[in-house]
């Protein structure tokens, strides 16, 4: 009884806290000068329907390159620390998966991959983008490993995708120096019609590479962690 009333008190406390936040919230409707600049001139200069994407890929494109590099370093360090000897496979005793989960995962994994790709291809039109799409692709890989723990995942394919997309990202940036106004410049391709899938210059292409790279890096981390859970 004491426990029940305690639970109720905690619940009511939560409600009071959240209600206070809710009542006290009045959204800041005026933009400051910087935000105003992006909001007004962003669509014309960049041609992206999603302003956040315009800031992330064009105005702050170098930062994105840095973030991808940090993620790459993290993946490289994880795979360095958790190095598996060649030929050593899993020697844990696992409970087998139920047949239903196995079948369901086989149907769902390609669907999740497709959805991840949808998220980063439409990064300049709708919420999401390279990082989110990459994370969704990696979660599809998690489902695959959950259903079939003993399956081998191709490290070579992951590394290949990762390197190619990283190099292409930098090459597009360099092409911006050669053929347009500067490194990672957006006007390398024409801006296209606002709001369609082929618009916003090179943003979709950069986001495809960012998404593939992030997905490959996270998948690499997950497979490395998975293969190193040997029973001591």
């Amino acid at each position: 009884m004491v426990k029940n009333s305690l639970i109720f008190i905690v619940l009511i406390g939560f409600a009071v806290l959240l209600a206070d936040l809710f009542v006290g919230f009045n959204g800041n409707t005026d933009l400051n000068t910087l935000a105003n600049h992006y909001a007004v001139s962003g669509p014309e200069e960049v041609g992206s329907a999603n302003l956040v994407t315009a800031v992330v890929v064009t105005y702050r494109g170098l930062d994105t390159l840095g973030e991808v590099t940090i993620l790459f370093l993290a993946a490289a360090i994880v795979s360095f620390l958790l190095k598996v000897e060649a030929g050593a496979s899993l020697n844990r005793k696992l409970r087998s998966t139920s047949e239903i989960l196995d079948t369901a995962s086989r149907i769902l994994v390609p669907v999740i991959f497709l959805f991840g790709i949808y998220v980063f291809i439409n990064g300049h039109l709708s919420p999401g983008g390279g990082f989110q799409g990459g994370a969704i692709i990696a979660s599809g890989l998690v489902l695959m490993l959950l259903a079939q723990p003993a399956k081998e995942v191709g490290h070579k394919l992951i590394t290949l995708v990762e390197s190619i997309s990283g190099i292409s990202f930098v090459l597009i940036g360099v092409a911006g120096v050669l053929f347009a106004a500067g490194f990672l410049d957006n006007k390398l391709l024409s801006l296209g019609k606002f709001g369609t899938i082929f618009s916003a210059g090179v943003i979709p292409i950069i986001y495809i590479f960012v998404g593939l790279k992030v997905g490959a890096e996270l998948s690499g981390i997950i497979t490395n962690l998975h293969e190193n859970q040997n029973e001591a």
Binding site: A15, F115, S126, P127, G128, S139, L146
Partner: protein
């Protein structure tokens, strides 16, 4: 008329989520909490749909899809952890 009905439904769903929260805190075992979490997230999907209607933005449905995907994965990961299948 329509909006009033939708608003009432949103409040009922909120009450339902509050009830599942009770089970979530009380337990008594970890799988009980996991069931509560599962029901809570699936109810939130309906709530996200209603919020998308209120603010008439279809992009919230993308959020709902990702949320449903993550809750499905979360429940399966934790259950596989319980039965030592991870």
């Amino acid at each position: 008329m329509v909006n009033t009905l939708l608003f009432i439904s949103a409040i009922i769903i909120l009450l339902a989520i509050l009830l599942t929260f009770y089970r979530f805190i009380k337990g008594p075992t970890a799988p009980d909490r996991l069931v509560a979490f599962d029901v809570m997230t699936v109810s939130s999907l309906a709530l996200i749909g209603l919020i998308a209607k209120f603010s008439s933005r279809i992009i919230y449905l993308d959020v709902a899809i990702v949320y449903g995907l993550l809750s499905f994965l979360g429940v399966i990961i934790v259950s596989r952890y319980f039965e030592r299948g991870l």
